[in-house]
């Protein structure tokens, strides 16, 4: 992690300490999902498999970064009364670009994500960052902040998806890891590939249910807050 960051810094003189903090903060201590409670709406329903969650994260990073950039560019010209509509139009156009691109590149995943790609528009992370950061900061910083928050969202999304897929289906990103592999029943004597590890394991169906995502995020919040008691809210 540190290596890649210093490399980026060498290439990009604009990438100073402040910017690095803008990327780091939303990943852990100020995570949009577990701390700011934003963007849960579209987050949970796509997390039963790793690949769709990954695609979703990329889409959110893209939309969040560029929406912040463009909003920040026009921030001095937006009248305050109509700023919500202006922001929504910027976000909606970006989401349309993402939707059409994904439809062209990978139709099965587009079908699988169905309405949730469109719902990035109402994803509170994007709106929240536009209101809280991009309306008051310079374009480059806003862009970094948007990317950082998108990454923080993606981190939780992929973590939840990984747990749900490994325990619910015994696979990771479609590759069988634990539990009896599909060809195990035919070829019981050979260690047929990676899938025969823990072949006694039978899939936990709870993990496939939507409720599992809620439990997992609850547990993530629990872990994070017991490690850092400053984050505990009294209410």
């Amino acid at each position: 992690m540190a290596d890649t960051l210093t490399k980026v810094e060498e290439k990009e003189p604009l990438f100073g300490k402040k910017e690095r903090q803008l990327i780091y903060d939303p990943l852990f201590d100020n995570n949009p999902i577990t701390i700011q409670v934003l963007g849960i709406c579209s987050a949970l329903a796509v997390t039963s498999l790793v690949v769709p969650s990954f695609v979703m994260s990329i889409a959110v990073v893209f939309v969040c970064g560029f929406a912040s950039l463009f909003t920040s560019l026009v921030r001095e010209r937006i009248p305050t009364q109509v700023r919500m509509i202006v922001q929504l139009v910027i976000i909606a156009s970006l989401v349309t670009i993402v939707e059409l691109t994904l439809k062209y590149l990978n139709y099965p995943i587009y079908k699988q994500l169905s309405v949730y790609i469109g719902l990035i528009i109402t994803n509170c992370i994007v709106m929240g960052r536009l209101e809280a950061f991009a309306m008051a900061n310079k374009p480059w910083r806003s862009f970094i902040d948007g990317i950082g928050n998108g990454l923080g969202y993606g981190l939780i999304l992929i973590a939840v998806a990984a747990v749900r897929e490994i325990f619910g289906k015994g696979s990771f990103a479609g590759i069988q890891l634990i539990g009896p592999s599909p060809d195990y029943f035919i070829n019981t004597t050979a260690e047929s590939g990676i899938g025969t590890w823990f072949s006694w394991y039978s899939n936990n169906n709870l993990m496939v249910l939507p409720a599992a995502a809620m439990f997992l995020i609850g547990i993530f919040i629990w872990i994070q807050r017991s490690r850092n008691p400053k984050l505990v809210d009294i209410s």
Binding site: I40, L44, A45, L88, S93
Partner: protein, 206 residues
């Protein structure tokens, strides 16, 4: 009669079996943020039912007569769908806010702060997008709007009531508030799964 049957079917399905919050996680942000007391949850729930039931038929009309290839313009304009839908929702919310302010200032005072929140409630836009992907007709989309709104209302009332009571329990400090709300929602989701056994067709006597 067939019309009424399908209306009831979709209403029950949207409200209980495929609950917006507990099965699709739509509208989670305001669901978690505004569910600390039953009173405010009640207000927001009513506003969501109203906006969902109003925007859904309007978006249906836009989708069918404006955007689709067989519509008035004769062009496939579906790439404008997201922008138009969100514009309709934002303006409807604004309109509802203005009307309520004129007609009933008392209701406006209790709902006032929540109305703008509804624009970015994923349940509203999500409902319209589901309507498109499931190819509902006009009656079905009204039923889906009402049912989905009612389901959302039920869920937020339930969690608010639980959260009011759980204040008196000894929850681990790190889990207080948000963490517990997540776990409770998960449990409620599992409880609602038992409603999957409902067969809407049997209710209408078929």
């Amino acid at each position: 009669m067939i019309l009424l049957d399908s209306f009831i079917n979709i209403f029950i399905k949207a409200a209980f079996i495929e609950n917006m919050v507990l099965a699709y996680f739509l509208g989670m942000c305001s669901y978690l943020a505004v569910s600390k007391t039953v009173k405010t949850a009640f207000g927001l729930g009513l506003a969501v039912i109203f906006v969902l039931a109003v925007t859904m038929p309007i978006n249906w009309v836009i989708e069918t007569y404006l955007l689709s290839e067989n519509g008035l313009l004769g062009m496939d304009l579906t790439f404008l769908r997201l922008i138009l839908f969100i514009a309709v929702i934002a303006s409807m919310v604004q309109l509802v806010e203005m009307v309520i302010e004129k007609v009933s200032p008392a209701l406006y005072n209790s709902l006032g702060i929540f109305l703008p929140l509804i624009t970015v409630n994923c349940a509203i836009l999500g409902g319209s997008l589901f309507m498109v992907s499931r190819e509902y007709n006009l009656t079905e989309s009204i039923a889906f709007g009402l049912g989905g709104g009612f389901g959302w209302f039920l869920a937020i009332i339930a969690i608010a009531a639980i959260r009011e009571k759980i204040k008196y329990s000894n929850v681990p400090p790190a889990l207080r508030g948000l963490g517990m709300a997540f776990i409770l929602t998960g449990l409620m989701g599992m409880a609602f799964m038992s409603l999957m056994g409902i067969d809407p067709a049997a209710l209408s006597g078929n």
